[in-house]
């Protein structure tokens, strides 16, 4: 039976400053949620594609109009989307859940260096994702198949990582999706947890 005393205690707990362990667990939960959501989306609009073509990047996979974009890309010799960061996507099955699990371990760790080491993968994850994506976009855009039908028609270029761009008759728009932002929040929560833990240890 829930009494006024119980409710009062629960409310006070919620309003109180979170402990490092709680924040690590929140960070882990945010990261798990992020892994279930899309991270980045690339949209292309052209006169004959009034509804646009959309490719969504998840932490583990690609979805959307991958076939059609590949179909168009083959004219300019752009590599198939599935071959971009394929190793990373395989590693992601280990890295994503692993980073979340390490955050839970960090919640239980007492040594400062151990906490940092355990939280670091989750903190670095969004930055690694962005850096890897940027490298691949530049690589793919500058390694067009010279034997492709329209290889001479489109000069090497780097598809935009964020914001508007264009190639041929297409206008493009790249945006980060909720999964990426949640992963960022998870990283911030982990940093917060490390800070709280360090302060508490210093006291």
């Amino acid at each position: 039976m829930i009494t006024h005393l119980h409710l009062d205690r629960s409310i006070r707990t919620l309003l109180a400053a979170p402990t490092a362990a709680t924040l690590f667990r929140v960070a882990a939960a945010l990261l798990v949620l992020a892994l279930a959501l899309p991270w980045w989306r690339f949209s292309m609009v052209a006169p004959q594609y009034p509804f646009g073509l959309h490719v969504t990047t998840w932490f583990f996979a690609l979805s959307g109009d991958v076939r059609e974009v590949d179909e168009l890309n083959h004219y300019i010799g752009f590599m198939p989307l599935a071959s971009i960061a394929s190793v990373e996507r395989h590693l992601a099955f280990l890295a994503g859940p692993g980073a979340a699990a390490l955050l839970l371990c960090a919640a239980a760790a007492s040594a400062r260096r151990a906490r940092i080491a355990l939280a670091l993968p989750a903190i670095a994850l969004p930055a690694i994702f962005v850096a890897d994506l940027a490298v691949w976009l530049r690589y793919a855009g500058h390694h067009l198949d010279p034997h492709a039908a329209l290889s001479g028609a489109v000069p090497p270029w780097t598809p935009t990582l964020f914001g508007a761009g264009g190639v041929g008759q297409f206008h493009t728009l790249s945006v980060f999706e909720p999964g990426f932002y949640l992963a960022g929040l998870a990283a911030l929560a982990a940093i917060g947890a490390l800070t709280i833990a360090s302060k508490k240890q210093a006291e």
Partner: protein
Amino acid sequence: MSIARKDFVATIGAAALLAGCSTPKAGGSAPAGEETVAGLGGDAKAIIAARGLTPGDVAAALKTFVPLGKHDDFVMFASGGHSGQVVVMGVPSMRILKVIPVFTPDAYTGWGYSAASSECLNDGCVNGRLITHGDTHHPALSETDGDYDGRYCFINDKVNGRVAVIDLSRFETTQIVKNPHAADDHGHCVTPNTEYVIETTQYGAPIGGEYVDLTQSNYINYYRGVATYWKFDRASGRIDPARSFSVELPPYNQDLTDAGKLASYGWSFTNSFNSELAFPQGYKGGPFAEASESQNAADWLHIINWKRAEALVASGSVSKRNGMAFIPIDQAANSGILFLAPEPKSPHGVDVTPDGRFLIIGGKLDPHANIYSFEKILAATKRSNLKKDRYGIPILPLKDVMIAQVPVGLGPLHTQFDGKGYAYMSLYLDSAVSKFSLGDESGRGWELVDKLPLQYNTGHLSAPHGDTVNPRGGYVIGLNKWSIDRFTPVGPLYPRNLQLVDVGSDKEKMSHLYDAPIGMAEPHYAQIISASLLKPLSAYPMGFDSRTGKVSPKAPKPGTEGIKQEGDTVVVSMTQVRSHFLPDVVKVKRGQKITWRITNVEGTPNTMHGFALSGYNVSLTIEPGKFDEFSFVADKPGVFPFYCTDFCSALHLEMMGYFLVA
């Protein structure tokens, strides 16, 4: 000519948009009586003046104009007459959206060139002969609870007595059945839940097509008509001949048929025009059929209780003829299945009102819309003292079943409804459409309201859901046989004229909206469905086979392409995608049998590819995801280019290959 106030307001608004003017300029007011459209922006006025348009022209244009990129509210399925096809058009724009090949091969779609479509055509063989034409007459959209449901369209072939199924998930013909009891047909409709597709004969002929010499005695004794009830199986999307049946009819030359609905559910009605039991004798100096079949003042309305017939067939007491259940005249008459009622001279249409309570019959040679009460028909069928015709069929007295006549004009043919209490009847001889109010059981309220000339010789009419329990109103389309002066001359073969009439803007008066030329055969009848009820696919799942309606294990897929010898046949497994074929070179030896399989492996809507092979009579259009197949013998050595016939990409011309026969 005047323009209604609400049309006038609409004219101002829409024309301003057309001209790109947000504020119409104050132009000089037109003198009273002058035919100009006042109040329009300067650009619009200039256009109207330059083109010499009247206010009526402008109103009609605005009522039919569908803004760029927008869609029509309704879609019409019109028979293509003896082109053997079905035409799909938007309403009110009257734009042709598609021509669906049915009974006739079509090089554009590959109908009759691919194995799947050839098999479908072969199913419609008559006496073992492949028939490559048809006379499509009465499209019948599938119905649920008496209203169109947008799933299937059935179409009959008058000349060969066949019925085809068009699957509206893909707008493609999926089945053709040949009536084993009929040489030809005319009437064609569905029952309210598409339990059956009804097909009725036109001209009396010996059942099954055997030879019987044409004499008066033989005509009476051996020539027959039938009403065939094709069982439609929704689960498979196919007509099931094993569960279908025919009711034998006298050779009265049956004409249109309509199914009862709501109050008259379970019955169907077919009229006829040869109570004289006459036949052509002009060849020996006797009367032509046009005269000998028009002597009597009345013909026979056939009233059939199909629910009772269905039960009789289910009871096992009906024998088969030519492999399908067949209820002879005497069995039908004695079982309370078949009745006759007199109807005015040489009728064409019998049409059931939306509530199912009344039948409206147009006698071509009688200037009335004749109104029959189903309640009175039903009561009369229960009487025991009915007279019978020479075939033993009970006759319902005319005075007991007809409740009113509306003097509509000359040559009444066919009736549609608007759901607002009015009926519209075409008048062939007057070349007009008449509008009359629907009355009641006592015969009161059936009155002519308006009449509008049509250009020219109107056959059937079509209105949105105009023969269902829920007509939508707004428009009536006259399916005119002649166009005379309505279009730019294009030689002695004139276009037909589908004429759109506005019946929704004014409570009583009808007005012309648009003339739509049809550059193909007579559009005999059409049905118009709300566009929102149609939910077609935009692309097929990869490897879709038209024959089975499923993905085929034989369909080539990316990675499985190649050329293999299977027995004595060379099997080519090819994929096509922008902008190449794989394999793009096929080498065989003279005399080898070839089975060529192609899958369009595109996944994006609208990415069609064609395939045409020089010298071997092959032409296909393959929609994204679809699998097609064709076979032939490589009997001519040489080098034969093949290419994509559908302009698919900037490198379309490069989408080609070679077939080499050594």
